[in-house]
């Protein structure tokens, strides 16, 4: 049996007494020394007094020595091998040249590690050296694989790599240090620098990170950075897009910057770069005039010798939605019908109501001498029916039809018809001046309406009847389902009178008169249709206010009137939730090399999910004005299908969808998607040595720059020492001379006391 080899020792107490007993005895000794000192306090001779004190203290120490039984413990110990992680950035920016015309940043790292291999091997007696590439997942690499395989990762996340390195490795071995090789072009957590939580996270690693920055900052490049724009904007409201133009090597140059919407220039500006590495903000303010999703692109020219050309343009999608529905209400004369509609529209926070009422006609005599006694204003016909007509989302004519030249809109009828045809929304509410009543026939405007006059009005009260189409149409859906809607309409009070009209071909009648007929069919009460790109609705009565007020006569509250007009407005302005085919790019901005996906939701005419509908989506390039690809699919039980296109070239695209169920056309819809030319990784070729220096500083490491001649002397945590064998105790107290010293001290004190007269 081999005796163990001890390579360390330490002083220990071998006393069998428990700690509390040792403490108690030590206190007793102290008390003895103190009493002895007290006993000789009156001794006039200072020398004697000191001698007696010294002898008693010496005896106390000797006694304590015997109590503690000191000994030497011989040990066998060893050092554990800790880990040292070498982390190499494998993001795409490491593919940029380290200097103009030089090797790539990744290649320069590979060359250095090749050269430093012997020095790294020299660390192996104390550390296990592990070499990883991060993208940001860690994967083992070698200098050879680094040189061979180009970096491809779409982002740089230094902090994630450091966290992963701290948790990786073999068994429970701790990390003694990290060697981080990167250009510092972090575009995730450390994008804003070593601040806040990122700083705390780095400090929490508890490991010195020595950084090796690769790449020079002198590349010539022009890039669009820091694009700031909201995901959505309000139509006809100005919007600001902010971008930063980062130019390196363009000192004194004026750079034109263009903002375009799907190939059409929206705005342009010029910025002047003052220094060789300059960032200039540029902002564009413009006013989108259409709702929908559009692709916008900010572009700067491409110059020769630029390190990266793909970052000279940047696209984004912008969803343009309506702010508040801007409603123009034109009223032929004040009436209860007008009063309740106004009350409803004014209390709707989503409606911006602009109204004009004819309060006096030429035949009225207000009985004033001076017009200043009246609050009346001129009727601004030209302004509202010509110059500002297109600013309204919905135009409502409420029993508005005048033959008097001063109030007739004959001159503007064509404007109104074109307004509807070009995408506007129009409502004609009946009464005794329109739809066959009164003298103003408005033939041009009537072309755009879903009904035509058929004779004199009928003033008999009647209860409006829901048609089969009305049962499923969103405008008349005032209940939570078909049966609830039908019941809600049935409960409403009769209304006194309706204009007699007939539905034009293509019109959808939602509510009808139960017995009044025209052209052999029941006369429509509410009818809708699409006219050109616009929509029109006719309410062939001036008594819908009965649904607002008379409906409460029996005490039960009714929301039917509010819901009907609310639905009507939403349908008229094409609220996305009320379209039969909803197309949504998923996501609206696609990173380079990623597929374009689209979600299509199909609903049938009754707005129920259309299962098994055949959906066709065309990916249409806005840049080339040509279709790029087509995908088809069938909807599931929820009426939804998701389709994917193979990654297309960068640029703006439209997703044009159509759907059919059997022979029934379910309509069409579209959305926009921007395929980016470069992701965040390649949009900036700059090197960030200051970030690398901060990382080293916060973690206790050192910062270096490549190239280096060899591996520098980096701070690494010492591996811990652990006992790895048996221990052997060697007593010290049991020597005879210690006992002689104790007896000698006690005897000398006794002798001195007796000699000085204390015993």
């Amino acid at each position: 049996m081999n005796s163990p080899t001890f390579n360390a020792w330490k002083l220990v107490s071998l006393s069998p007494l428990p700690s509390w007993a040792l403490v108690f005895l030590a206190l007793g000794l102290l008390l003895g020394v103190a009493l002895a000192a007290w006993g000789v306090r009156r001794e006039p001779s200072r020398g004697r007094r000191v001698l007696l004190w010294a002898l008693r203290v010496g005896a106390g120490v000797a006694a304590l020595f015997f109590l503690l039984e000191p000994g030497i413990r011989h040990l066998q110990v060893a050092r554990m091998k800790n880990r040292v992680a070498v982390l190499v950035d494998r993001s795409a920016s490491m593919g940029f040249p380290s200097e103009p015309g030089g090797p790539t940043r990744a290649a320069e790292v590979a060359t250095f590690l090749e050269k430093a291999a012997p020095a790294l091997a020299g660390l192996q007696d104390r550390f296990t050296v592990e070499m990883y590439g991060f993208d940001p997942e860690l994967a083992p690499v070698t200098p050879a694989s680094l040189a061979k395989e180009p970096p491809r990762a779409g982002s740089t996340d230094l902090l994630a790599a450091l966290r992963a390195a701290a948790g990786a490795g073999q068994g429970a071995r701790k990390l003694s240090g990290v060697l981080l090789f990167s250009d510092g072009a972090d575009n995730t957590e450390l994008k804003s620098g070593v601040v806040g939580r990122a700083r705390a996270a780095l400090a929490d690693l508890g490991v010195p990170v020595s950084t090796f920055t690769v790449g020079q900052e002198a590349l010539k490049d022009l890039a669009i950075e820091g694009l700031k724009v909201d995901d959505f904007a309000f139509v006809r409201n100005s919007l600001t897009v902010e971008a930063e133009i980062h130019g390196r090597g363009f000192r004194g140059k004026e750079i034109p910057v263009v903002l375009s919407q799907e190939g059409k220039t929206v705005a342009s500006k010029t910025v002047r770069l003052e220094t060789n590495d300059d960032v200039k903000p540029v902002s564009f303010t413009f006013t989108p005039d259409q709702t929908g999703r559009f692709v916008y692109t900010v572009t700067v020219p491409t110059f020769p010798d630029e390190a990266v050309t793909d970052n000279n343009s940047r696209s984004f999608t912008l969803k343009v939605i309506r702010d508040r529905v801007r409603v123009l209400l034109v009223v032929g004369r004040p009436s209860w019908d007008e009063r309740y509609l106004r009350g409803l529209l004014k209390q709707d926070a989503n409606v911006d109501l602009i109204s004009f009422y004819i309060l006096r006609t030429l035949s009225d005599d207000p009985g004033v001498v001076n017009e200043r006694e009246l609050s009346l204003i001129p009727f601004p016909m030209e302004e509202i029916f010509d110059t500002k007509l297109d600013t309204f989302d919905v135009v409502i004519f409420q029993n508005f039809g005048h033959a008097d030249p001063s109030l007739s809109i004959a001159e503007y009828e064509r404007n109104l018809e074109r307004y509807i045809h070009n995408g506007g929304a129009f409502v004609m509410i009946g009464g005794d001046s329109v739809l066959g009543e009164g003298r103003a026939t408005m033939p041009t405007l009537m072309e755009a309406l879903p009904v035509a006059a058929a004779g004199p009005a009928n003033v008999e009260p009647f209860t409006a009847r829901l048609t089969p189409e009305g049962l499923r149409h969103p405008v008349t859906a005032i209940g939570s389902g078909a049966s609830s809607t039908e019941a809600a309409w049935g409960e409403l009070p009769p209304i006194p009178g309706a204009n007699l009209t007939y539905a034009r071909p293509g019109a959808t009648v939602l509510l009808e008169h139960p017995h009044l007929t025209a052209n052999g069919k029941n006369a429509p009460l509410v009818a809708v249709w699409d006219y050109g790109r616009g929509r029109a609705l006719v309410m062939a009565t001036d008594a819908s206010w009965y649904w607002a007020f008379a409906a409460h006569r029996d005490g039960s509250p009714s929301r039917a009137y509010d819901r009907f007009w609310g639905n009507a407005l939403r349908w008229l302005v094409r609220d996305p939730d009320l379209t039969t085919l909803k197309v949504t790019a998923d996501p609206p901005s696609v990173e380079p090399g990623r597929p374009v996906a689209v979600v299509v939701q199909a609903r049938s005419a009754d707005y129920q999910p259309a299962q098994d509908a055949q959906v066709r989506v065309e990916l249409f390039s806005v840049a080339t004005q040509k279709p790029v690809a087509v995908q088809t699919g069938a909807t599931g039980p929820d009426g939804v299908v998701r389709l994917e296109f193979a990654p297309p070239d960068p640029g703006p695209y439209k997703l044009l969808a159509t759907a059919k169920k059997g022979e029934t056309d379910l309509g069409k819809g579209e959305d926009a998607v921007a395929v980016r030319a470069v992701g965040p990784e390649l949009s900036d070729a700059s090197v960030r040595p200051e970030l690398m220096e901060q990382i080293a500083k916060v973690t206790g490491g050192k910062a270096y720059k490549l190239p280096q001649d060899g591996l520098p002397d980096m701070p690494l945590l010492d591996p811990p020492v652990v006992e790895v064998g048996r221990a052997k105790d060697q007593p010290l107290w049991d020597r005879w001379y210690y006992l002689v010293a104790l007896i000698g001290l006690l005897g000398a004190e006794w002798f001195a006391r007796r000699r000085f007269g204390y015993v």
Partner: protein, 252 residues
């Protein structure tokens, strides 16, 4: 009290003026959608100003584009038929007994869901008579909306005519009171017997003298009546931004 002596000439003139006005619009679209004042029946003397209401409807037809039926239709306050007449006149000469619970509930519902009520102390009372009874009942009908003075900038003073005060047959109080539901004045209350200034007898003569301002005050009372009707019909239309500058200029 008659303000003008009934003569055959006045009677003929009055009838002649009314006839073409109503006949000319007889072809219109049914009367239910026209302006017809409803009159609240209560336990006191509620029907003292029916001719005034017919007259103000007639004036509304003559002076504005509003289509009216120059009538005044009485209803019990508990009647569901009130809900076909969004304009209700609640007047009285002297106090009246408390309304029953059904009347209070129906009137509250009427006002809450969009009805408008013009209250008018025909006796010009203040703290007694009609005034005391009406305030007592309003505290029951709209307890959360106490009557408050109508500010001079309220839209009712510019809904058709530009006015500064609210005179009636009397000028006890320069302004009216209002009970507001949200931003809407659901009740306007005059203590100046405003309908008394409008009232004419069957021969077309004004029934009451107007004091202290005489005939000019009567004209202002008629204009106030038209403004009140216009407010009931158009709500805050004249508060729209498009009118503000022009009205401001006219008031200068």
């Amino acid at each position: 009290m008659s303000a003008r002596r009934l003569t055959r000439r006045n009677l003929l003139l009055g009838s002649a003026a009314l006839a073409p006005l109503l006949a000319g619009r007889a072809h219109a679209f049914g009367e239910k959608n026209r302006f017809i004042p409803a009159v609240a029946k209560h336990g006191g003397r509620w029907d003292a100003r029916l001719s005034g209401l017919r007259r103000i409807a007639w004036e509304l037809q003559r002076r504005t584009s509003v289509e009216v039926v120059p009538d005044a239709r009485p209803f019990a306050l508990s009647s569901p038929d009130l809900f076909e007449y969004p304009f209700l006149y609640f007047g009285g000469d002297g106090g009246f007994p408390p309304l029953n619970d059904a009347e209070v509930a129906n009137l509250r519902r009427y006002l809450t869901y969009g009805g408008f009520m013009l209250a008018d102390a025909n006796d010009g009372s203040d703290g007694d008579g009609f005034d005391a009874s009406f305030r007592r009942e309003m505290a029951r009908v709209l307890p959360q909306s106490p009557l408050a003075e109508v500010p001079s900038g309220h839209v009712v003073f510019k809904s058709f005519f530009l006015l500064d005060a609210a005179p009636g047959r009397l000028l006890n109080k320069p302004q009216m009171m209002a009970a507001n539901l949200g931003k809407r004045a659901a009740v306007l209350y005059s203590q100046n017997d405003v309908a008394g200034a409008w009232s004419r007898n069957e021969s077309g003569d004004y029934e009451f003298d107007v004091s202290p301002g005489g005939e000019p005050q009567r004209e202002l009372a008629v204009r106030l009546g038209i403004n009140v009707c216009m407010y009931a019909l158009c709500l805050d239309y004249k508060d729209d931004a498009v009118h503000l500058q022009l009205i401001l200029n006219k008031r200068r």
